[in-house]
Symmetry: C2
Subunit: 447 residues, 2 copies
Amino acid sequence: MSKIDIIIVGAGYAGITAARELIRAGKTVKVLEARDRVGGRVHTQQFDDFYLDMGGTWVGPSQDRIYALLKEFGIETFKTYDEGKSTMLMDGKLKTYKGLIPPLPIPVLLSLDMAIKKISKLSKNVDLSEPWNTPNAKYWDSMTLQTWMDKQMAFSKAKSMFTIASEAIWATHPNEVSMLHAMFYTKSGRDFDTLMNVKNGAQEERILGGAQSLANKIIATFPPETIQYNAPVKAITQDGDGVEVIGKDFSYKAKKVVVALPPTLAGRIDYQPLMPANRDQLLQRIPMGSVWKCYAIYDKPFWRENGLNGLSASDNGFVSVTFDNSPKDGSLGIMMGFVLANQAKDFSLLSPEDRKEAVLEQFTKFYGEKASKPIFYIDKSWAEEEFTRGCYAGVMPTGAWTSLGKHLREPVGNIHWAGTETSDVWNGYIEGAIRSGERVAKEILGK
Amino acid sequence: MSKIDIIIVGAGYAGITAARELIRAGKTVKVLEARDRVGGRVHTQQFDDFYLDMGGTWVGPSQDRIYALLKEFGIETFKTYDEGKSTMLMDGKLKTYKGLIPPLPIPVLLSLDMAIKKISKLSKNVDLSEPWNTPNAKYWDSMTLQTWMDKQMAFSKAKSMFTIASEAIWATHPNEVSMLHAMFYTKSGRDFDTLMNVKNGAQEERILGGAQSLANKIIATFPPETIQYNAPVKAITQDGDGVEVIGKDFSYKAKKVVVALPPTLAGRIDYQPLMPANRDQLLQRIPMGSVWKCYAIYDKPFWRENGLNGLSASDNGFVSVTFDNSPKDGSLGIMMGFVLANQAKDFSLLSPEDRKEAVLEQFTKFYGEKASKPIFYIDKSWAEEEFTRGCYAGVMPTGAWTSLGKHLREPVGNIHWAGTETSDVWNGYIEGAIRSGERVAKEILGK
């Protein structure tokens, strides 16, 4: 048997990027993946005539590492459709509008605009690599994003709009997010406008062939049998010589291990010796967001004919935002709706039929009667997935960054940590996962 | 082999109380305990000449269930020593004072007193059995206790005192506690004064023989081999017929199982079928507090000779509060110091020698030179314990009660939940654990 240098737990973008860098440096790597596929929270599901990105989907400006890899592997991107008017459903009233400024009373718009500018400005002071060293870190970490919003905005409609944006960004209610984390995350993804927007924003482009296609191409360069599928890791033991990584019917020894899992799952592995108290306590404090991704497929993107771009926002109903996720050539109409944060939790209690009905009812409100009769409907919640248990990512509640943040990336003996939650840039995104994989490889290689 | 009706996971006070009630109702019960003893977070450690309560210690008025059990099993209680003056170290200045009112400027005292009265008053509106149905629940759940304190008190010294009290109550910084949870917990334990105080408070009495002695007596009434020690549970599977509870080298089937563990540990068990998303997401959101309990033993309680009661509070140093935990007859002097919340996390990074030095230095500041030379020193952190991972209890961050609270106690098929965190009365205390055990037994017996 060949001796393994490094075991990697999890074949999401963090894990396979780490594996790629370590293999390129001449190391023998074994990747243990609980599922029967790579990609983790990025999953492109194939159907007869189309594919759907059931998890991570978009790429955008300043996501330099994923764009470099896409280029290297010859994978194209294309613009997210955003021509025409956006749709807004507030207080039961449907309105459409051109551009970025929704049809709200001027004082509401000014209040909202000030809040967006303010959070972006505040975020500039964040120390991305050590958020707990940000000026007044404890002050910001003592309040929720909701508390800050309540101070910042007087108009309930402004707060509603900001809530919709926040839930679309974090997949969690602003009352669960530390303001310091919100500032960190805002800077990590450049600014609040970038996080929110399609054009010049985090939702600007999609990946031709689906977001998992890059992962598939990366692993095709690995030596045979690098990845073992259906191999959930249950325990990791270590001593001075190295590590042993154990699952139900396997056990591998290596010099080092990289755990590239969502924090809450990294915290459920049985470590011997025990994880230090502070590391364990930190992992008790990084809950995952909750989101359902709901797709309705139509024979064509009919909303475009009505001058609509497929972007909607609503302060009521399960679906609070929608995107046009049709194929590049528009040969089908694919409408995607997010059910986010607390709505996602209530949505989980519905039957599949009731979920479908609720989504199509909302789509019909946005786009008219045609939306009620799709060719196909599918939805997915990452909180129901055994090997993710929430999406998009782990979100820091109040107090966590300043009391325990330094234990997020610090290796514990021969155990190293990756995953998008450990990234200082584009934390929570595919880009962050890739950066975390590259960072952990450097850490191990001593670069 | 005898058929088991109910398996109980965890032999803390919740688990053994549930077991007792079920056995009394004629059920066949198996208790699986990870440690080699009962008591869970309550552990009375025996030494040659004395014993120490390394975990839960005190009982007080309105803790009716534990008092009833103590009486039934013939176990005495005795008053926590509180005769003489208390000690306060603030801004580097040491002061002693008689009674409950610390020597602070009148405006500070008024501000502090108003805050304490206010939180007790606010807490009266909490719906203990369904905190999410409390009036304005979402409002209170959107802010941290720290945010409320910042609004409520203008004086930093008042806030410091309130912080010390809060940390002593929750073992976590006020910036980690949802204000709704703080209100819930305050009402759950009667009021804020009760939670804080020795006389008429949660620290009023101690249990002769140690707090674990009741647990030992309860299990002595169980049929032989009811409890299996050194049996950490790894997985629970269930189908229509019942449950199977699995550890490294055992597996038991039963009709039902009660999981009586801290929430964060209940969340690490491998459930098949998978825990529903909302239950899993909730358990991602109930981190444990952090506390070190530090004991110095002297040949006599010398501070008493100086008219001091052994109660101290400090806004600086690792130890923020102390108690006189000497034996009932005062034959030894036992001083206990709590290192709480974020101080506990930093304390975990010190060597055993440095921890001892830091504690004795603080004790010496409080009680003079004699405190620097104990006969014996010992400390314990429950966050370092594999089968607890934090103390006193799980604490709700913002947003958790209102979004997911209803999943805290709701059985999942044949799996039922106990533990002090599931109790509506005296949540977080031994009394709450006992009440949760009695509640879950009734739930199972259909009463």
